[in-house]
């Protein structure tokens, strides 16, 4: 049985031993490092980690340095998931053959990837890992853009966002497609556990990560990761942006068990729900939406978020 950390408060959590060092090259205010620490700190068990090419990878393993005090591998942009799946297969093989150096350990296998690596180029690899139900966790650091290469759109980039390959202009409001429903697609693999998390709701997140670690089989986690550089907000406001994302219900927090049982895990009180407009207004990438010609898009945004929230509630209620 794996060893779950008992975490009473944020201070205790933030001061626990790090296996992801603060010495890294991520931007000030980047949510990636916060999410990664929250995932790693949820367990005392040994870890086998992978990162797909992207911000997290290029900022944490620049030879001859490493920010990782745990086994870690990077291969390429699309295959962080399969790297960990291969390691997990080797663990099983060596366990069967009695050749593990530390047979008493209970390692957890975790792969991290950005939304570009996950929603787009690595989609097939993740699907394969989920379908085969490797005993692993895949975590998307979802900042809704190819941030590492300078802000190109991904299939996670939401409608109306100005990205460098879908820039807003005199005849364009930026990205024209809505964000891909990665959670829905991954849950449709009927994996034991899928969850959407946000680093501001750390208790909810740790609970889900621990649930994921305790699950035998494939686990998919989608973590919202506000990007100070590409979403264009002040680095000190990362947590504020995350609050806006969860409290506007643009980024609802929920889990899906065995592909069908959906539970909403964070339900802001009616009076605390933030209008989507506030969430959009806090970010430079949506600045152009506030011109008269595009204000209809803000209304559509709100309607879409409301509809999605209603859908999640119906799914939860229906238990199907």
């Amino acid at each position: 049985m794996s060893e779950m950390k008992k975490i009473k408060n944020l201070k205790e959590f933030s001061t626990s031993a790090d296996r992801f060092e603060g010495a890294n090259l991520l931007c000030p205010g980047c949510a990636h490092s916060i999410i990664v620490r929250e995932v790693l700190n949820a367990t005392n068990d040994d870890l086998v980690l992978a990162a797909s090419t992207g911000c997290l990878e290029v900022c944490t393993a620049v030879y001859p340095y490493t920010s990782w005090d745990a086994s870690w591998i990077h291969i390429g942009f699309e295959n962080g998931s399969t790297a960990v799946a291969g390691a997990e297969a080797m663990y099983k093989a060596l366990k069967t053959k009695g050749r593990l150096k530390q047979p008493d350990r209970n390692p957890k296998f975790v792969a991290f990837g950005g939304d570009g690596a996950s929603y787009d180029i690595g989609f097939q690899w993740i699907s394969g890992c989920m379908e085969r139900n490797h005993d692993m966790m895949y975590v998307v650091l979802d900042n809704e853009v190819y941030a590492n290469t300078g802000g190109q759109r991904s299939s996670s980039t939401p409608i109306g966002s100005s990205a460098t390959t879908t820039p807003a202009g005199s005849i364009s409001y930026g990205e024209t497609r809505n964000k891909k429903d990665m959670m829905g697609i991954m849950a449709a693999h009927n994996i034991p556990y899928a969850a959407q998390v946000a680093p501001n709701k750390w208790k909810d997140m740790v609970k889900k990560i621990q649930k994921g670690f305790a699950t035998e089989g494939a686990v998919f986690i989608n973590a919202v990761s506000p990007c100070t550089t590409e979403w264009k907000f002040d680095p000190k406001d990362t947590m504020h942006l995350t609050d806006l994302a969860t409290d506007s219900l643009v980024f609802p927090l929920y889990e899906v068990i065995d592909g069908h049982e959906l539970n909403i895990t964070y339900r802001p009180k009616e009076k605390d729900i933030v209008p989507v407009e506030e969430y959009l207004a806090a970010q430079g990438r949506f600045k152009h939406l506030f011109k008269d010609q595009y204000k209809y898009l803000i209304k559509e945004w709100q309607e879409r978020v409301d509809a999605n929230w209603a859908y999640l509630n119906r799914r939860e209620e229906a238990r199907v």
């Binding site: 393993a61 291969i75 291969g86 099983k92 093989a93």
Partner: protein, 407 residues
């Protein structure tokens, strides 16, 4: 549940694919991560059946593409155990990115390539365009000319690849269909002896050693990348050849079958010679023998090791030969064939008076017949007699339409 050993007859009738699958079973590979593709599919199927029948204790992961197959192999190898897979042609092309990652990360992996043409046009038959495509990928490349050799070379490949001074992945090539699907008598090694030859896997920088966490697959830019690539090349040039020779020697002691990086046939007094790979080697030997009966001193060089290229051995074998033909079974795409170039490179700064001509043959599974080779040896003898190459330097053999010759 302990796995079962298999009782083999001294000589089994196996095709190249099944011979390779048997070798993987006997090496007790820890993880096979694979995706099927013609003509290498039966390796994967054969291994799957061994797994289903409890002849394999390790993990067998059927992934969703060849790229994922090698990605899984890399993760598994970094975790610290014996790893293998198999592919062909388009599968290898899809896998190509990860081949460079595997070798750059210095991970021992054995890849069986059943050689097949690259599309377009789509073609499932044998040529060496896939082997050539990955020739700069930093993998050791062995070439088997028969099912027996496809079997034997897998053991050698694991032994060399996993050596701690080598830690470089290795490919075992065999010709699609001509070797992979042609059943021949294969002298077997019993399970225990075979496993003892490759030995228990000795992990190094293994991710599953939690007392010593390691970081694999780092970023290096202009400050370090060059040193890493230079080191890889240096080890291929200086360490790997000796390790291959030592493994060939040890294998010969065990089985009586002696392999060489450059396989020479009737080369001692040869005036003319053909250099080739794969199943063509046997045909070339047959015809060379017949040419000798006609008084023409013909020899054959079969290239057993394509990477690291055995420059010195090739130069030594060819230095006194008057006329040599390099046979390349891959569309050259606007240049002489790779073998032509490398043989030329082996001898360029030497005193040899050797005349070299290049031939492109057998693309997409087109047969190389004895008649083709008789004509070729005759042409070489004419070059030798004239003291110069009488044809153009690059010719095509066996292609329909007007004769193609260049350079």
């Amino acid at each position: 549940m302990a796995f079962d050993k298999m009782e083999l007859r001294d000589i089994e009738v196996w095709d190249g694919n099944f011979a390779a699958a048997q070798a993987l079973r006997q090496c007790q590979v820890d993880v096979v991560s694979a995706y099927p593709i013609t003509p290498s599919t039966p390796i994967v199927e054969g291994y799957a059946k061994f797994k289903s029948d409890n002849y394999v204790e390790g993990e067998f992961v059927m992934v969703e593409s060849e790229h994922a197959a090698m990605s899984g192999c890399i993760g598994a190898a970094a975790a610290g155990g014996r790893v293998a897979t198999a592919t062909s042609s388009q599968g290898l092309a899809l896998m190509a990115e990860t081949l460079y990652q595997a070798s750059g990360m210095r991970l021992p992996i054995v890849l069986n390539i059943v050689n097949r043409a690259l599309a377009a046009p789509l073609n499932v038959n044998g040529d060496h365009s896939d082997m050539y495509m990955v020739r700069d990928s930093g993998w050791i490349q062995f070439d088997a000319f028969s099912p027996q050799e496809a079997y034997d070379l897998n053991f050698v490949a694991f032994k060399v690849s996993e050596d701690h001074e080598v830690r470089t992945p290795a490919i075992v090539n065999q010709d699609g269909f001509m070797t992979s699907h042609t059943a021949q008598g294969v002298h077997t090694i019993d399970d225990d002896t075979a496993f003892n030859f490759v030995g228990e896997y000795k992990p190094m920088n293994d991710m599953l050693d939690f007392e010593h966490p390691v970081t694999h697959g780092v970023q290096t830019e202009e400050d370090w990348h060059f040193e890493h690539k230079a080191r890889q090349h240096n080890d291929m040039m200086t360490i790997v050849p000796g390790k291959i020779d030592a493994a060939f020697e040890e294998f010969a002691k065990l089985t009586g079958r002696k392999y060489n990086q450059v396989e020479q046939y009737d080369m001692d007094d040869a005036d003319i010679a053909v250099v080739c790979m794969g199943t063509s080697v046997e045909t070339a030997r047959e015809v060379a023998k017949e040419m000798r009966e006609k008084g023409i001193k013909a020899g054959v060089i079969g290239l057993r090791v394509f990477r690291p290229f055995p420059f010195a051995s090739i130069a030594n074998a060819l230095k006194d030969v008057k006329a040599v033909a390099a046979l390349d079974r891959s569309a050259p795409g606007g240049t002489p064939g790779a073998l032509f170039n490398e043989i030329a490179g082996s001898l360029f700064n030497s005193d040899t008076k050797m005349l070299l001509s290049g031939y492109i043959y057998g693309l997409g599974g087109r047969d190389l017949t004895k008649k083709h080779l008789v004509d070729l040896y005759t042409e070489l003898q004419a070059n030798a007699d004239a003291g110069k190459v009488l044809t153009q330097q690059q010719q095509f053999i066996g292609v329909r339409g007007p004769k193609l010759a260049y350079l």
